[in-house]
């Protein structure tokens, strides 16, 4: 089974990285799913070729369900980093801001340079 292939799997893995796996959650599902949609739009800006197969239609996700996330396997981890980064961006602590910026930057770097 492919990893990070559905919206639910992105939310699940994001919660693991956020250490937010026990309900009631600090980061609602809706916020994490919104982060995934934002990642798609950001990817469309920097790597339009990722959406060539879908005629450049940018998907929008509304729930942490089994909706397929059709991103090439080599870039799925980058999208996860963006979701986690966007979630942490809402926190006020300085350390969280730095980590959030680093994760979002890592997403962009992996998409445009391929470097980890």
């Amino acid at each position: 089974m492919a990893i990070l292939a559905t919206a639910a799997s992105y939310v699940e893995q994001a919660r693991t990285l956020l250490q937010d796996t026990v309900a009631p959650y600090r980061y609602p599902d809706a916020d994490l799913v919104m982060g995934l949609s934002m990642a798609m739009e950001e990817a469309r800006r920097t790597r339009p070729d990722l959406f060539l197969a879908t005629s450049f239609v940018v998907p929008v996700y509304t729930a942490a369900d089994s909706t397929a996330v059709a991103i090439d396997a080599q870039y799925r981890l980058a999208f996860l980093y963006f979701v986690v980064g966007m979630a942490q961006l809402r926190d006020e602590e300085d350390t969280q801001d730095a980590r959030a910026a680093a994760l979002i930057s890592l997403f962009r770097t992996q998409l445009t340079t391929g470097q980890a």
Binding site: T46, R47, D49, L50, L52, A53, D72, Q74, Y75, L111, T112, T113, G114, Q115
Partner: protein, 195 residues
């Protein structure tokens, strides 16, 4: 075990040489590369017979393969004698004068790939062209991909190198097309009516 074909070799080597590239993008670029290669070299040719009738100068012709006509090379009449003709628009042979009687003519045309592509997204090209010019087509793909900005595989320097190899390959194919793949061959043939 997956069967290796000349086309799959191009795609596999492109994937390896272009880390972070997307298959769909490689195939899209391969279509452009194949188009440029065939359009500039005239390597892909086909003889299309058509019937001329008295009083008509324009004739529609279509290639048998999934291709578009890029250039009219020459037209021969039923006796194999070159006949004057033009192609104002692709797929329409225009004779300068109306034939006086019905006859079978043959138009030799140069082809280029055409949409839609095959079911796996690759351009429709004769296998022998992919086999013979595999390295040149690969160079074209690598060059065009590496010339793209802000990609993990972007490299202006390597793009120039590969595109130079690709253009050299086009020139070689053009010469070989003219010589009909004959070593030290020549393109024109002695007109039969002089024999």
């Amino acid at each position: 075990m997956t069967t290796v074909t000349p086309l799959s070799r191009i795609l596999d080597l492109a994937r390896i040489s272009l880390p972070g590239s997307i298959d769909t993008m490689i195939k899209s670029v391969l279509f452009d590369v194949a188009t440029e290669f065939t359009q500039k070299s005239d390597i892909w040719q086909e003889e299309i017979p058509f019937t001329v009738v008295a009083g008509q100068t324009d004739y529609e012709i279509d290639p048998s393969d999934r291709a578009t006509i890029n250039r009219l090379m020459y037209v021969e009449n039923g006796d194999g004698i070159p006949t004057a003709a033009t192609m104002r628009e692709p797929h329409t042979v225009v004779l300068p004068t109306e034939p006086s009687q019905e006859a079978e003519y043959t138009a030799t045309v140069a082809l280029a790939p055409k949409d839609p592509v095959t079911s796996d997204g690759t351009p429709s090209l004769p296998t022998w062209i992919i086999e013979k010019y595999r390295l040149e087509l690969l160079a074209g793909v690598l060059g065009q991909m590496m010339a793209q900005p802000a990609k993990p595989y972007s490299s202006d320097q390597k793009a120039v190198y590969h595109l130079r190899r690709f253009r050299t390959g086009i020139a070689r194919a053009q010469v070989e097309a003219r010589a009909m793949n004959v070593h030290s061959g020549q393109r024109w043939r002695f007109p039969k009516n002089f024999a």
